[in-house]
Symmetry: C2
Subunit: 349 residues, 2 copies
DNA sequence: CTACATATGCTCGCATTGAGCATTAAATGG
DNA sequence: CCATTTAATGCTCAATGCGAGCATATGTAG
């Protein structure tokens, strides 16, 4: 099928370009710095929160805990990240996963010999509310503070119809810049799919797509800060969520989307729970992440039936009604099923 | 809920450490180079293949097309990757997605002031067989050449029982090094879940987990090359799949796992198909990626029912049997459903 | 013409899942 | 102490999804 006759060599100089053996290369590759960034998520009183650090002074922006990767001090990205977070916030992270690497952190920043180019590696960390007391510095803010249009807990957020959709429709109808690369999907359709208009369903996982669309359309402050053309074309627009430093809001958007997706097929929801909990508390936590749309009895059936939890034998009495059984995460489920998670269906409202 | 009283400032020096304003930082951060690597996948005669470049000389290893990211020349990682691939192989990539960033490319390489530390950003690219003619350099190899234990097309691969499982069992029972970090899952259980023994089901998406396990156990050549302790503990072991340069086999493992996962919820399978195809050809392509386990009639029902394809009106006659209708990908499905894909169930054998 | 290989249509039964009804058990206010 | 309120929990039912198999259609190879 794949004959060896097909094996052709690539020219020597091409090989050397990508596998530098000497130091000549060093001059060619300008300084690059790798920024490690953590979106540390917890659920506090049914509110999904993220740990941010704040600068003082004017125009203060929130940042995610972060620091540069140093190959001399850090054996791995994740190790470096844990060190930075511990130093900056006093938190020892538990569950951590890599999200994405962004090559264009200060997107429109011009290349510059003085300042190193910084790329961002984003991480998601999940922690339970008990851990929160350990946070020495930094503050926990609702992630909906940065993404109000993602908050469907009281139904479809008003900001969508009031501010976002009309401007996006206008933007979609603007004559396109020729510079824009040929997109497989037209602006109109992207708006429709991302923001659930004209009959499309809201997909709670498309957090990054929505943010990127708003950025492209120049409707988030970061776009203006970065000097995006589309942003300058608008008359003053209302603030859509709080800005963050650098590309940190983009990283947070990735984190939210990943969290929402992941709890459906991996038992990561329990990283956000205390060791013992009632099924309704578990449901409230899932709903804080995804939006409230779960049928209580079916949720119970789902979670128990999947073997995700087991009763501790204890009861919780101060529930406001009948006492509830306490449960704990059943770790053995990891050994039984390939993809255990809270398999709630996508595409609800 | 999240009161502002919670807002505490982080110490100034901590901020400056992670948001360097001046150039003093430059000395602190050693040179880091970012390697962009592409696993370019196609399906050729029902064989999943990946594009590799080969060096000549002794101990030749296959590499993925790759090159360093240069912020001066490349606006984004993906742009840089496309440039390198085009230069090295003559291929203009279509579908591309980022896989993962590895901070420890030459895992056990010691930090060194002379050579820059290289981190790898891996990408997955999918292309259809028609594009293959355009490949000027490099060769297409079955991805099972590098991962023979992933090839379930003729049933459970013999290499599992013959070579892999016995050694993994032995490794799992070895006294653990104290240096090993406390793992949430014991070696025994990791082996069991990854390689589907003792009743566990084979999860075709866990390609990376399996490779990492073999690496940790010292059973792949890369582990020996990198001087891993576990590798040196073995008497000579059989070669388990072909080695690749640097961490390229790890990137390819990630690519295979991602491809297998992704075709189930995004219509990326069509990136691997010619513009027109029969349903059986489509099924064969899915099976080349996942393993052969699909019920023909149900596959047809699934694909047609999901609106993933539409008939072209043409027929294909040289099928070996009754002529088959030709279909094409129905792009509108992207505008109709949030997660269209070939939703075959996980956990089959 | 016949055997064969594939394409395609259809049915049946089980498992999953959405939705709702009914009952139980504590806390609370009179 | 009782009635009311608020949850927790048990159960049913219908719609749908999905695995499996039967049956038939229509080419090609010999």
């Amino acid at each position: 099928m794949v004959s060896d006759a097909n094996v052709r060599r690539i020219p020597r100089e091409s090989l050397e370009r990508h596998h530098p053996k000497g130091t000549a290369m060093r001059q060619e590759a300008p300084a690059v710095e790798i920024g490690l960034n953590a979106a540390i998520v917890a659920v506090l009183d049914n509110e999904p929160v993220v740990l941010v650090v704040r600068e003082d002074g004017n125009g203060a922006q929130d940042s995610l805990p972060s620091g540069p990767f140093s190959p001399l001090k850090h054996r791995t990205f994740e190790g470096g990240l844990r060190t930075w977070v511990s130093d900056q916030t006093g938190i020892e992270l538990g569950y951590v996963e890599q999200l994405y690497s962004f090559g264009d952190r200060g997107r429109h920043a011009q290349p510059d010999d003085e300042m190193p180019h910084v790329v961002s590696v984003g991480y998601l960390a999940l922690t339970d509310a008990g851990q929160i007391e350990d946070s020495q510095r930094g503050s926990w803010r609702s992630w909906y503070h940065y993404f109000p249009w993602e908050d469907w807990r009281k139904g479809r957020p008003a900001i969508l119809e009031a501010e976002i959709i009309p401007r996006l429709r206008e933007w979609a109808e603007r004559p396109q810049q020729t510079a824009e690369p040929a997109r497989p999907i037209a602006r109109q359709d992207r708006v429709r799919m991302c923001f659930a208009i004209d009959g499309a369903a809201w997909d709670e996982e498309k957090v990054l797509d929505r943010y990127e669309l708003l950025y492209e359309a120049g409707l988030v402050e970061e776009a203006r800060r970065d000097g995006r053309e589309a942003a300058l074309a608008w008359a003053p627009t209302p603030r859509l969520g709080a800005m963050m430093r650098f590309d940190h809001r983009r990283i947070l958007a990735t984190a939210i989307g990943r969290t929402r997706a992941k709890i459906k097929y991996r038992p990561v929801i329990f990283e956000l729970m205390p060791p013992e909990f009632t099924l309704f508390e578990l449901q409230r936590t899932v709903e804080a992440i995804l939006g409230p749309h779960l049928h209580k009895q079916n949720f119970r059936r789902l979670v128990e039936g999947a073997g995700l939890v087991e009763p501790t034998g204890e009861m919780k009495t101060r529930t406001g009604g009948r006492p509830a059984k306490l449960y704990r995460f059943r770790k053995e489920v990891l050994l039984e099923r390939p993809a255990p998670g809270v398999r709630v269906k996508p595409g609800r409202v």
